[in-house]
């Protein structure tokens, strides 16, 4: 079954509910991301932000509700691999890179190319791919570390590498879960600059706690609590909302 969505709508969640052992992690959540939009999701721990990304990427199936992507593709029926290949890239809350391989190899693996076993076996690196990897290395500030093992990167650099891997996939939608958790202030500022740069030609959904980081992003903000949307709008608008103050900011 497909659905006709408004032309400018990239991701559409409606009435999504998920329960874990009777606990409702998402409670009839509805959310829309427009094409080329940068949107930030805030909300207290356990609000269901990561679970929402699990739903979009096919890691978790909703008990009920609709999840559509780009022109009515029903994501609830697709596997993680299929969803990734539709152009939805995800950065995990805990940085997940291939630790025992070099920064360069991490990006080469992520680079958008045929994903099959034999296509990978007979892949030959070529100037266009190498140029793209170099471009991404520069963007995520890892140019000087290309031959180092990913395990040797700092926490913040691993987060950047993972963002670089998302970009290498040439995705149409980036889901970024708590990118600045555990980063130094300087790294945090650098990351907001990086994400804004990426958002110029990508649609990006960022989950983050760090309010000054969200302010730097300067985008539409959605506040989740207890698995549903509490408020939506500019950061000033959302942070002035009495419900948000009571259930999130005030705590």
């Amino acid at each position: 079954m497909s659905k006709v969505l408004p032309e400018d709508c990239l991701l559409y969640l409606d009435g999504v509910t998920v329960s874990f052992d009777g606990f409702r992690a998402l409670n009839s959540l509805s959310l829309v991301l427009k094409r080329d939009e940068l949107q930030a999701i805030i909300g207290p721990n356990g609000a269901g932000k990561t679970t929402m990304m699990d739903i979009v990427t096919g890691k978790t199936r909703p008990d009920s509700g609709e999840v559509y992507f780009e022109g009515g593709i029903d994501l609830t029926r697709k596997s993680e691999t299929e969803i990734a290949n539709l152009g939805i890239g995800r950065k995990f809350q805990k940085p997940t890179v291939f630790e025992s391989q070099t920064v360069w190899d991490n990006l080469e693996l992520a680079l958008k190319n045929p994903r099959g076993v034999f296509a990978s076996w007979f892949y030959r690196s070529n100037p266009a791919d190498e140029a793209r990897i170099r471009e991404i290395l520069d963007l995520v500030r890892l140019g000087s570390r290309r031959n180092d093992l990913a395990a040797d990167l700092s926490h913040g650099q691993k987060q950047w590498l993972e963002i670089g891997m998302l970009l290498a996939q040439a995705p149409r939608l980036l889901l970024v879960d708590e990118p600045v958790a555990g980063m130094t202030d300087a790294e945090t500022i650098e990351t907001s600059r990086l994400l804004k740069e990426i958002a110029q030609d990508h649609s990006v959904l960022v989950v983050e706690h760090d309010m000054s980081f969200v302010r730097d992003l300067d985008c539409r903000v959605t506040c989740l609590a207890e698995g549903a949307v509490l408020a939506q709008g500019s950061l000033d608008h959302v942070s002035a909302d009495p419900l948000v103050i009571e259930r999130y900011l005030g705590r």
């Binding site: 993680e80 691999t81 291939f98 693996l109 990978s120 690196s125 093992l149 996939q169």
Partner: protein, 396 residues
């Protein structure tokens, strides 16, 4: 052009190893056959099948390394694929006995006559043809691995659970092959072989040829494994090993990767088993013993997993140790083997090859600091031409 490309894709180390193996494939039989008896460099007759056997074990250890060292699948049932290849070859050798068996039945092997069977079961048909049997030594283990892997990897069985069901698989096969009505000779297995490809199976020339074939098989499998692990597929295998869900969210089918590697590895193991049977002269259900598969894991661990070369060395050293100890002190061998595994796991997690690599790194560091003291420039940046950095090759 093609040769240059192949050279680049294999790397010089793989070519060296294959070259040495091919030299061994020629020189060892030559020394055995051409040198006069008593010559210092002559390999005695009894050594040929023994060394040939070690070469087939090395191929088995290499096959395990591909799935375990690179893909993270700890198979505790790999000896089963080896045994299936061994049985497929054994079936051919049984049929080659022809009318020279005890019961002189031109078609039925002795044990079938003994069981009162009147005709060959359907699954024995075709095994009188060498080419068919040779094909089956790959197809049967490959098919089993494919079906097993398809079920296991699709339902995302990993880690300890996967290891346990591979043990269960080889155990179930052992019980099945022990049964007389399975038609594989039951307890006694298949033995009493006479000829292979029209040659007497125990003749020195045949033994030498089987030895050569074992060395060539190991060389070819080593080249194939090197081609795989040095390609992007090899990087993908390591990615699946280290962070499977990350690989999946990048759009890779981790289950396909594992299924391919597992099946290919089983086929290599089957071919190795096929060369093992004629050199030891027997295949019986003991080959499916769960302990046999665990021994393969020990070979790979001792040599250094994820290195391809390490497991080859490990298989040779541990098997040679086993031959020596079981002859001299049979009662302590199992304790020694267990102790060796514990020791390696605790103190040499990267095996012999890991120890060698760290010694070499130590030398390099000492040399560099000596040069710095002497006021010479330190080494320039390591060249980026080698697609796999040395550190990773030595110890993923």
């Amino acid at each position: 052009m093609i040769a240059a490309g192949l050279y680049h894709r294999l790397g010089s180390r793989a070519l060296w190893v294959a070259g040495i193996l091919l030299a061994v494939a020629v020189l060892a039989p030559l020394s055995n056959l051409a040198l006069p008896e008593g010559h210092a460099l002559r390999l005695p007759n009894h050594m040929m099948p023994l060394l040939g056997k070690y070469l087939t074990y090395a191929t088995l250890a290499l096959a395990l390394d591909l799935v375990w060292g690179y893909c993270g699948i700890l198979s505790l049932g790999h000896a089963a694929f080896f045994a299936l290849g061994g049985y497929a070859m054994g079936m051919h050798l049984m049929r080659q006995i022809g009318p020279y068996g005890v019961y002189a039945n031109p078609v039925l092997p002795d044990f079938m006559v003994f069981l009162g069977w009147k005709e060959l079961p359907w699954y024995w048909l075709g095994f009188d043809q060498f080419w068919f049997a040779a094909l089956m030594t790959m197809v049967v283990p490959g098919l089993l691995a494919f079906l097993f892997g398809w079920l296991a990897f699709k339902s995302r069985v990993t880690g300890v659970y996967l290891s346990i069901i591979t043990q269960a698989m080889t155990y179930a096969l052992m019980l099945a092959f022990f049964r007389n009505d399975m038609g594989f000779g039951g307890n006694n297995g298949l033995t009493g072989f006479r000829e292979i490809l029209g040659r007497p199976i125990a003749a020195p020339e045949t033994r030498a040829a089987l030895f050569s074939a074992s060395a060539i098989l190991l060389a070819l499998c080593f080249l194939l494994c090197s081609l795989i692990v040095r390609s992007k597929l090899g990087k993908l295998m390591i990615a699946v090993r280290d962070a499977e869900s990350r690989a999946r969210f990048l759009g890779y089918r981790a289950d396909h990767v594992k299924l391919f590697v597992f099946t290919l590895s089983a086929m290599m193991a089957g071919l190795a088993g096929a060369l093992h049977t004629p050199q030891v002269g027997i295949i019986n259900p003991g080959a499916f013993d769960p302990g046999a598969s665990i021994e393969v894991v020990i070979w790979a661990a001792v040599g250094g997993r994820g290195t391809l070369i390490g497991p080859i060395l490990g298989a040779g050293l541990v098997s040679a140790g086993k031959s020596w100890f079981t002859a001299s002190f049979p009662e302590i061998w199992l304790f020694l083997l267990g102790g060796l595994f514990v020791f390696v796991t605790l103190f040499m997690p990267k095996g012999i090859l890991g120890v060698l690599a760290s010694i070499r790194a130590g030398w390099a560091a000492r040399r560099a600091s000596a040069r710095k003291q002497a006021g010479v420039d330190p080494d320039p940046e390591p060249s980026a031409a080698d697609p796999i950095p040395a550190a990773q090759e030595a110890a993923p």
